[in-house]
Every structure is written in structure tokens, then in C-alpha cells.
């Protein structure tokens, strides 16, 4: 009986030891396998990422080694149409020496803003200071003044000045009082006396259109004031205004004053250098309106004035959009 109990106990202990050793070996094996799996996911995802160090070296690291940085939320990122594009100051330079009244600027502007009749935002005038001085062509747009009289007089805050330099009109706010037209010393604003007589076809853009003061892809609104808007819809696409790209003679330069750079579609030049070298000036500068449009005087003209007479039309009407 005593021997039998001893044998049973020995057998039990023997089995327990064997089981313990087997469990330890198995556990170690599983642990090794899982650690290997972890190592694979942590150290080698297989996906490579190009990064730039502060000293300008381009390196390639495994994307699993990269730790994302929590960026502070920028509350100013939401675009405000009344504030404009941040850190920009748009300017235009018009070189009178190059203009020969080809009127491509006006045609393009009319086409893209659905303008007809006398309401052209961009007009080209025949100028002659004296009888014995040579005549020249002078395109005019809204001057986008830094001290705009139109904004000061608007009773409903429909026309406003943005930080990026643009003066725009909110046609949904405009009550058609025309105070701004009276206040503007450059007479560039036009009034929509009637529904626009414009030929256009509705496209998907128009169907889903939500009005914005900087969106030009819609016809004008009867009973409100219109004017050149410096084509912010183009600028947002990193493109030049329609008049600049349409001009075959490189008359219009458009750019950013903060970057001191303007472009006429053919060349990019320093704004300060261009104005200094060609004696740039602003219209009625003494009024203190501080226009954003500069003119280069019509000296050393590159074109014959007579050529432009074929297109001259006294602004009784302007071309309908194509």
C-alpha cells in the first residue's frame, strides 16, 4: 500500500515536471515568434519615405521610423472673401508705350465677365495732351485704391477693400445708390440699368453656383454697380487676369507688391526697377487715393498710333462675348 502510494506520487511529480518543462519551452518559442513579428512591423514596414534634413540633404527612411508631429491648428485658414488672400498685395502696371488699341484685353474681359454694351470694365481711351504732341492709347481699369473713396461712401458696406489690395463689390448687398460711382475720381464704375443683354449658355458651374463677390463667372445683377475686379478667380488658380493674358503686346503687368515682382505673360520683372527705370506714375496721385495701378509713360513707343484707329469705337458699344 505504502509502495503503491510512493509510486503514484513519484509518477505524479514526474509528469508535472515534464509538463512544466514542455510549457516553458513552448512559451519561450511563442515569445520569440511574437517578438520577431513585432520587430517586423516596427522596424521594417517596407514603405520608404523621402525626407529633407535641415542642412539640405535628401534622405530615405522607412516610414515606420517616422513620427508625425502634431501641428497647431490654424484658425485663420478658413478663407474670408472680405479679407482676401493672406500676405499678398496685388498691383498692376500698364505700359502705355506698348498699347496699340488691339482691344484683346477688353474682349477677353467682356467674355469672361459676361459684359456687353457700354458696361465694359476695361476701357481704352484715345489720349492726346496737346495738339502738337503725339496721341497714344490708354487702357483703364479699376485702380483698386488703398484709400478708396468708393468704400468710404458706400452706405451698406457693399463695396469693400481687402488686405490683398483688391476692392470688390458684393452685388447681393449693393442697393444701387451709385454713391460709389460719384465718389470714384477715375470713373471706372458702371451701373447695370437693365438685365444684362448677354448671350451665354448655362453650364454646370452656373447651376451649382453660390454667389461670391470674387466670382466672375455669372452675369451682372440689374440695379447694382460693377467694375474691374483684378480677376481674383484667376489669381487663385495661379493664373494672370484675363486682360494680361489676352494682350498681344505685353501692355499689362500684374503681380505682388510684397514680392516686388510683376509679370505680363512674357516676362517677369522687378516692380520697383520697372517703375524706376521707366518713370512709373499713378493717376491723380495728389488725391491721396493711392491706386494699385501704375502707368508707364508713352515714351519711345514701340507701336504706331494709327494702327489702333481701326478698332477705335468711342465706347458707344463694346463687343459681345464670343
Amino acid at each position: 500500500m505504502g509502495d503503491h502510494t510512493k509510486k503514484e506520487r513519484r509518477k505524479f511529480l514526474d509528469n508535472g515536471l515534464k509538463l512544466g518543462i514542455a510549457a516553458a519551452i513552448g512559451g519561450l518559442g511563442i515569445s520569440k515568434i511574437t517578438s520577431k513579428l513585432n520587430a517586423n512591423t516596427e522596424h521594417n514596414s517596407g514603405e520608404k519615405m523621402e525626407l529633407m534634413t535641415v542642412d539640405g540633404t535628401l534622405i530615405e527612411v522607412d516610414s515606420s521610423e517616422v513620427m508625425e508631429v502634431q501641428h497647431a491648428e490654424d484658425h485663420d485658414q478658413k478663407y474670408n472673401v472680405r479679407e482676401g488672400m493672406p500676405n499678398r498685395k496685388f498691383v498692376m502696371v500698364i505700359d502705355l508705350a506698348k498699347c496699340k488699341n488691339a482691344l484683346k484685353c477688353q474682349q477677353s474681359c467682356n467674355k469672361h465677365h459676361y459684359i456687353t454694351g457700354d458696361n465694359a470694365w476695361l476701357k481704352v481711351y484715345k489720349m492726346q495732351e496737346e495738339k502738337d504732341t503725339a496721341p497714344y492709347w490708354m487702357p483703364t481699369t479699376c485702380m483698386h485704391c488703398d484709400q478708396p473713396a468708393c468704400v468710404t461712401v458706400c452706405p451698406v458696406d457693399a463695396t469693400f477693400k481687402r488686405k490683398d489690395g483688391l476692392v470688390l463689390i458684393d452685388n447681393e448687398r449693393c442697393i444701387g445708390c451709385r454713391f460709389c460711382m460719384a465718389a470714384c475720381p477715375y470713373s471706372t464704375r458702371v451701373f447695370n440699368w437693365s438685365e444684362p443683354n448677354q448671350e451665354f449658355t448655362l453650364n454646370m458651374d452656373m447651376v451649382n453656383h453660390q454667389y461670391s463677390p470674387e466670382h466672375s463667372g455669372m452675369p451682372s445683377v440689374k440695379g447694382t454697380v460693377d467694375k474691374c475686379d483684378f480677376c481674383p478667380h484667376q489669381v487663385q488658380k495661379n493664373e494672370l487676369p484675363h486682360c494680361v493674358t489676352a494682350c498681344p503686346n505685353g501692355v499689362f503687368y500684374f503681380g505682388d507688391k510684397y514680392e516686388d515682382t510683376v509679370n505680363n505673360g512674357e516676362e517677369t520683372v522687378r516692380l520697383s526697377k520697372l517703375l524706376e527705370e521707366k518713370a512709373g506714375y499713378r493717376l491723380m496721385d495728389s488725391l491721396g487715393t493711392e491706386p494699385s495701378v501704375y502707368y508707364l509713360p508713352p515714351v519711345d513707343r514701340l507701336v504706331d498710333f494709327e494702327d489702333g484707329l481701326e478698332e477705335y469705337n468711342e465706347f458707344k458699344s463694346v463687343d459681345k462675348p464670343e
Binding site: L28, I30, M52, V54, T57, E60, V66
Partner: protein, 63 residues
């Protein structure tokens, strides 16, 4: 034993991990990330001292 924290890093190793130095690097989308300095040392160098033009090109900006 394997199931009782055998595979965990020792306290000394954990301390080293916490003190690991990181460097801030630029991603091509213009955001920044952090990478361990030790990883950087072992990383593959694609190009050194790149020019401004190359940098803007890498960032996908028009010049």
C-alpha cells in the same frame, strides 16, 4: 519566465528610449516629422546640399 515579462525591455533600456534624440525633418507635402537621430545615421542619403530649385521642385512648387 516568458509569460511574466521576460520579453519586456529592462528599465535601463526604457530610459535610453526616452532619452533618444529626435530631429525634425521636412516632408514633400510641406509638413514636418520627427525621426530618431540613430535612424538618420543609418538612413540612405539620396542627395546632399540640394539647390533651391531642386528643393522647390521636390516640394512640387512652380518656380
Amino acid at each position: 519566465m516568458p509569460f511574466l515579462g521576460f520579453n519586456q525591455p529592462s528599465p535601463k533600456e526604457a530610459e535610453i528610449l526616452q532619452e533618444e534624440e529626435y530631429e525634425t525633418l521636412l516632408k514633400p507635402d510641406g509638413t514636418t516629422v520627427k525621426v530618431k537621430v540613430s535612424t538618420l545615421k543609418n538612413s540612405k542619403v539620396l542627395k546632399k546640399n540640394i539647390s533651391n530649385t531642386s528643393l522647390l521642385g521636390w516640394l512640387g512648387k512652380k518656380i
